[in-house]
C-alpha cells in the first residue's frame, strides 16, 4: 500500500471528501437556481422596456412625423441610463441615435425579433469598446427603421457576481473541508488510532495495562471504558485459566502420582490375590476422588460460561432453605450441633434453584467441617434478608473463623486452608459457590464475626414480571405430560 492510498483510505480523508462534495453540490444547485431566475427576470424586464419604448416612439412618429420622432429620440438619449436608439432612413443613413457601431445586418433584418448584439456607444466609448445589448428593430412607414435596445451590462455584471460568489463558496468549502479533515484526523482519528495502538500493544504484551481515558466523557471515553472492562474480564479469565492449569498440575498430579505408585507397588510386591485386591480397591478410591475433582471443575467452568438470563427463575427461598435444612438437620444434630433458620416470610429471588441448593450444601458442609467451636455446640444458621436492592443469603457458624489474610484466598480453586487435608473434599466447593454468585450478578463474601464465620451471597430480588415466568413454567409442565 502506497503512502497515498493509505492516506486516502483514512476515515478523515473520506469524511472531508464527502463534506466538500455535499457542500459543493448544494451551493452549486442554489447558485444555478438563483442565476437562472434572475436572468429570466431581468430579460423579461428588458423586453418589456424595449416594447414599451417602441410603441411610444412609433406613436410619436405617427402623430408628429419624422421630425418629432428625431427630437424625441434626441431628448431621450440625453437621459442618464438611457436606452439605445438608432433611427435610419431607407438608404441606411443614421438620422439620430446613441449607437456608434453595430453589425449592419441587424438593421436589415427588420422582422421585429429580439436580438443580442455587440455595439459601441456613441459619445461615451472609444472605438475599441464593445458592449452587449438586447435590441429590436421596427420598420416605420416611409422606409425608416427604428432600433431600440437595452444595455445588458447590469445583467452581465450580476452573472459575474454570481460566478465570483460560486468560486468564493468553493474556496470556503474546500477550506472548511480541510479544517474538518484536520479536526477529524487530529482529534477523532488520533484517538481511535491511539486506542487501537494501545490495544494492540496490550494484546502483544501486558494484559494488565489499560487504555487511557481522556476524562471528557465522550463516546471515545465510553469506548475506552468498555474496552477496559473487556480487558479486565479477559485478564481475569486468563488468570483463572492459568490458575486452574497450575492447580490442576499441582493438585491432580499428586493423586495421579500416588495412583501410579500404588499400581507399581502392587505389581512389584503383591504376593497373592488378596494383595492385588487391596491395591485395586485403593486405586479405585483414588480414581473416584480424581473424577470428583474433574466433575467439579467442569461444573464450575460450565457455570462461569453461562448466560444469566437463561437459567434464572423466581424461587421461594423459604421453601428452598427449609428443604435443605430438612436434609441436613439430622446430620448437624448428630454432630452435636444445631441448625437455625432466619428468613422473613415471602422472601423470593431470581435464581437457579439447583445452583442455590448446591451453594447452601457446600456452605453447610464447610461449616460442618471447619466451623466447630473449640468449646460449646456448633450452631449453623441459615439466614436471608433484603439489603438495599439485593437479597442476601448467608450461612454462619460459631467456629474459629478464617485468618484475615486468607479471607480472599479461600475462594480460589483448590485452596484448602487446612494444610493436612485430612477432611475429604476437592477444594473446589467455594469456587463453585463464587461462580454461582457471579452468575447471579453478585459475589461471595466472608466476614469474621468473632466468633464464627459468615459466608454470604447476594441475589436479585424477584421482579414484578415474575407471574409471567410462572405461567411459562406451567405451560412447559403441561406440554411434558
Amino acid at each position: 500500500m502506497t503512502r497515498f492510498t493509505r492516506f486516502t483510505r483514512t476515515t478523515a480523508f473520506k469524511l472531508s471528501l464527502l463534506y466538500i462534495t455535499v457542500f459543493t453540490v448544494i451551493s452549486g444547485i442554489l447558485l444555478v437556481y438563483i442565476a437562472e431566475n434572475t436572468d429570466h427576470l431581468m430579460s423579461e424586464q428588458v423586453v418589456q422596456t424595449i416594447d414599451a419604448e417602441l410603441n411610444g416612439l412609433s406613436e410619436v412618429y405617427v402623430r408628429g412625423g419624422v421630425r418629432n420622432l428625431v427630437e424625441t429620440i434626441d431628448r431621450r438619449t440625453r437621459h442618464p441610463d438611457a436606452s439605445l436608439y438608432l433611427l435610419v432612413d431607407f438608404s441606411g443613413n443614421a438620422l439620430v441615435g446613441n449607437i456608434a457601431r453595430l453589425p449592419t445586418m441587424v438593421l436589415e433584418e427588420a422582422d421585429g425579433g429580439l436580438r443580442r448584439v455587440r455595439y459601441t456607444r456613441l459619445g461615451v466609448d472609444t472605438e475599441d469598446v464593445e458592449r452587449q445589448a438586447m435590441v429590436r428593430t421596427f420598420e416605420l412607414r416611409g422606409g425608416f427603421r427604428l432600433l431600440v435596445g437595452r444595455d445588458l451590462g447590469d445583467q452581465l455584471r450580476f452573472s459575474n457576481l454570481l460566478g465570483n460568489a460560486l468560486r468564493l463558496w468553493l474556496a470556503v468549502v474546500v477550506v472548511m473541508g480541510a479544517i474538518t479533515w484536520l479536526f477529524v484526523s487530529r482529534r477523532v482519528m488520533k484517538r481511535i488510532d491511539d486506542i487501537s495502538a494501545s490495544s494492540r500493544a496490550i494484546m502483544n504484551g501486558d494484559l494488565s495495562e489499560r487504555l487511557s481515558i481522556a476524562g471528557n466523557d465522550d463516546e471515545f471515553d465510553r469506548l475506552a471504558i468498555n474496552l477496559n472492562v473487556m480487558l479486565e474480564r479477559i485478564e481475569i479469565l486468563m488468570q483463572s485459566m492459568k490458575d486452574v492449569t497450575d492447580n490442576i498440575a499441582h493438585d491432580l498430579k499428586t493423586p495421579l502420582t500416588r495412583l501410579q505408585t500404588r499400581i507399581e507397588t502392587a505389581l512389584r510386591d503383591a504376593k497373592n490375590e488378596q494383595g492385588y485386591r487391596e491395591a485395586l480397591e485403593a486405586t479405585l478410591e483414588e480414581t473416584d476422588h480424581l473424577l470428583r475433582i474433574f466433575n467439579s471443575l467442569l461444573r464450575i467452568a460450565r457455570i462461569e460460561s453461562m448466560a444469566p438470563g437463561t437459567v434464572l427463575e423466581p424461587v421461594d427461598l423459604n421453601k428452598l432453605v427449609a428443604e435443605i435444612a430438612d436434609l441436613y438437620e439430622p446430620l448437624v444434630e448428630d454432630e452435636g450441633g444445631r441448625l437455625d433458620i432466619n428468613l422473613p416470610d415471602g422472601l423470593m429471588a431470581d435464581c437457579n434453584r439447583d445452583m442455590i441448593n448446591q451453594v447452601l450444601v457446600n456452605l453447610i458442609e464447610n461449616a460442618l467441617k471447619y466451623g466447630r467451636p473449640e468449646a460449646g455446640d456448633l450452631v449453623i444458621s441459615l439466614s436471608g434478608r433484603i439489603e438495599g436492592e439485593r437479597v442476601i443469603l448467608s450461612v454462619s457458624d460459631n467456629g474459629p473463623g478464617i485468618p484475615h489474610k486468607d479471607l480472599d484466598r479461600v475462594q480460589d480453586r483448590f485452596v484448602r486452608l487446612e494444610e493436612s487435608r485430612s477432611e475429604p473434599g476437592t477444594g473446589l466447593g467455594l469456587s463453585l459457590v463464587k461462580a454461582v454468585a457471579r452468575l447471579h450478578g453478585g459475589d461471595l463474601r466472608f466476614k469474621n464475626e468473632a466468633p464464627g464465620l459468615t459466608a454470604r451471597i447476594d441475589l436479585k430480588p424477584v421482579t414484578p414480571v415474575s407471574s409471567g415466568s410462572n405461567d411459562g413454567q406451567g405451560n412447559a409442565a403441561g406440554t411434558r405430560s
Binding site: L291, R292, N295, L298, R299, R302, V311, E323, D326, L327, Y328, P330, L331, D334, D354, N357, Q358, V361, E365, L368, P424, G425, G429, R480
Partner: protein, 228 residues
C-alpha cells in the same frame, strides 16, 4: 431375569455393561449405533433399555423420542458424559426415565436398572400398602406399623421408607434416595443420607428381633425380610 438392550457405541463400555448384566442373570443385547438400536427396540420387546446419549447415526435422545412416538414405553436409562442438571432435564424431557452421568459405579447402574424394571407401569398398579416381613406402610392412612406397634414417622421419614419399601428387596443407592426422596441432584460429600437412614432404622428396627433395613457396603441400602 430382565431382557435389556444396551445402545452404546464404545465397544469396551458396551461389553463391560453386557458382561456385568449377564453375570447378574439378565439377557443383554447390544447395538452400536442409534439406528440399529432403534430398529432392535421396535422389533422385539425389552424390559429395559440403556441408551448412551452420544451415538453415531442417530443420537440417544432422538432414539428415545422416536421410540415414544411409536408408542413404545420401554423404560429407558440414559447414560451420558454430560452430567449437568440441565442435560439431565433435557434427557428426561426427551422421554428418558432415569439419567446416569458417566462415569458411574456398576452398582449404581444395577440398582437403577432394577428400580426401573420394577416401576409400576400405570397409576392403577401403584399399591396402597407396602409390606416387608411384619412391617406395614399404609400410604392412604399415612401410617406405619411393625407387628402390633404403631411407629410414628416424620413426613420425610415416611417418604424415605415409602421409597425403600417400593423397591423392597432391591439395592437403593444414596444418589437414588437423594434424587427421589429429596429431589436433589448433586453429590453430597458428607454422609447426609446415612444419618437419615440410621434415624429411620432407629424407629423401625430398634427393639425388634430381625433387622429389615440393611446397608449394602459400597452400594447403598435395601429393605427386605431376612427370611427371603
Amino acid at each position: 431375569m430382565l431382557r435389556i438392550l444396551v445402545i452404546e457405541d464404545d465397544p469396551e463400555a458396551a461389553s463391560y455393561l453386557v458382561k456385568g448384566l449377564s453375570e447378574l442373570g439378565h439377557t443383554a443385547d447390544q447395538a452400536a449405533d442409534g439406528q440399529t438400536g432403534l430398529q432392535m427396540a421396535l422389533d422385539s420387546s425389552y424390559d429395559i433399555m440403556i441408551v448412551d446419549r452420544m451415538l453415531p447415526k442417530l443420537d440417544g435422545l432422538s432414539v428415545i423420542q422416536e421410540l415414544r412416538r411409536e408408542k413404545n414405553h420401554t423404560p429407558v436409562l440414559i447414560l451420558s458424559a454430560l452430567g449437568q442438571v440441565d442435560d439431565r432435564v433435557k434427557g428426561l424431557k426427551a422421554g428418558g426415565d432415569d439419567y446416569l452421568p458417566k462415569p458411574y459405579a456398576f452398582t449404581e447402574l444395577q440398582a437403577r436398572v432394577e428400580a426401573l424394571a420394577r416401576r409400576p407401569k400405570s397409576a392403577s398398579q401403584v399399591e396402597t400398602t407396602y409390606t416387608v416381613g411384619d412391617l406395614t406402610l399404609d400410604r392412604m392412612a399415612h401410617s406405619c406399623r411393625r407387628g402390633d406397634v404403631e411407629i410414628p414417622l416424620q413426613p420425610r421419614e415416611f417418604r424415605l421408607l415409602e421409597y425403600l419399601m417400593q423397591h423392597a428387596g432391591q439395592v437403593v443407592t444414596r444418589t437414588m434416595l437423594l434424587e427421589n426422596v429429596w429431589e436433589y441432584h448433586f453429590d453430597p460429600q458428607t454422609n447426609v443420607i446415612d444419618v437419615h437412614i440410621s434415624r429411620l432404622r432407629g424407629k423401625i428396627d430398634k427393639g425388634f428381633d430381625t433387622p429389615l433395613l440393611h446397608t449394602i457396603r459400597g452400594a447403598g441400602y435395601t429393605i427386605r425380610d431376612a427370611v427371603h
